[in-house]
């Protein structure tokens, strides 16, 4: 079971990655989650409970061609102004056991997209979260939160 912690202050110098308390020298951290969609692929309420797919890997500097899976386990990502926690402790990484917290709130049933790509090789840093916000009286909202 992995317990991955990612932290960044907004530049490469302040970016660290650790697993079970041990620093990991990584080339890339990549997480992509797609959920919260109806039969036509349009955003819908329900989040993870609507089904979906997720990829969560780490490419180490030693062997960048071989992706290493993060789950089953837990990953905490801390960005300037935002935080993400993703957990899936199912032994076979069953998608429906995924739980997501964004800025401390459980958004498991609201998540539509989650994308984190910290790629030191290509110097790409991107992270965003898309949530489905159902409103009673107003129109429902698909909110995209650009994390970094």
């Amino acid at each position: 079971m992995n317990n991955v912690v990612f932290q960044t202050g907004g530049d490469w110098d302040s970016t660290t990655l650790a697993n079970n308390g041990q620093e990991v020298l990584a080339a890339q951290l990549f997480i992509e989650l797609r959920a919260g969609r109806d039969d036509f692929g349009d955003p819908d309420r329900g989040g993870v409970f609507d089904g979906g797919e997720m990829t969560a890997i780490i490419r180490t500097q030693d062997d960048p061609d071989t992706p290493v899976g993060i789950f089953p386990g837990r990953i905490e990502l801390t960005f300037p102004g935002h935080s993400l926690q993703i957990e899936n402790t199912h032994p076979t990484f069953a998608f429906e056991f995924t739980r997501v917290w964004f800025n401390g709130r459980d958004v498991t049933d609201k998540i539509v997209d989650l994308y984190v790509d910290i790629n030191a090789v290509d110097n790409v840093v991107q992270a965003y979260v898309v949530l489905y916000k159902a409103h009673w009286l107003g129109s429902d909202e698909v909110a995209t939160y650009n994390i970094i």
């Binding site: 955003p43 819908d44 309420r45 009673w136 129109s139 429902d140 698909v142 909110a143």
Partner: protein, 246 residues
Amino acid sequence: MKSGNVHGFLTLKRIVAAGILSLVLAAAACTLTADAQRRGGGSFGGGGRSSFGGGGGRSSFGGGGGSFGGSRSSGSSFGSSRSSSGGSFGSSRSGSSFGGARSSTNSGRSGTGSFGGRTSSGSSFGRTGSFGSQGFTTSRSINYGGRSYTTRQYMYGGNSYHAIYGGGFGDYWYHPAWYYWTPFHPAFYFGAPYYVNDAAGGYYAPGGFSFFRLILGGLILLFIVWVVFRIFSGGGGRRNIRYTNN
């Protein structure tokens, strides 16, 4: 001669004994019959005459209740002619047990009885004062809408007014309940009573049907339907999704 006297004495003795025995038996029979009549029940395992259905007309008086034990008569207890003619079912006495003369008598007795033994002069209902609200000191008849109405008292703001009760839902607003304010109650669609100032001192008349309230009620109902639809359609229509960037 002597033996003839003895024989005659014995014969007389037998006759007297038989007579006494007959009297005893007759007295016993009368006692049993009277007792049976008093109890209204049949005999238990008795002889042929007093048993179930036996004795023709006599047994009908001894009926009324079911008998236990079989009769010694040769006929069947059920369905024989004697039983049917004198059985408990359909006889006058047994019929009177259900709503017949005896029941009426009982009802009469019940009607004359009293509840409790309270003889004080206080109220039996635990209240004092006059019945209902204060009585009107005056009575008015008002022609309203082509009809003549006798007014009733209407208390409003601590004052007593004459009021017309037309018999419709407009009257409900004289004493409004909270649910009259909801479009689910017919009174919602009627206006409040309004005051008519006439030369005789004025009176209140019930409000009529209000088209404004009809439109308002329709809007409220539509709103409720819309809210329910949104709740059960997954919290919102997907046709109006806003995409925002934060």
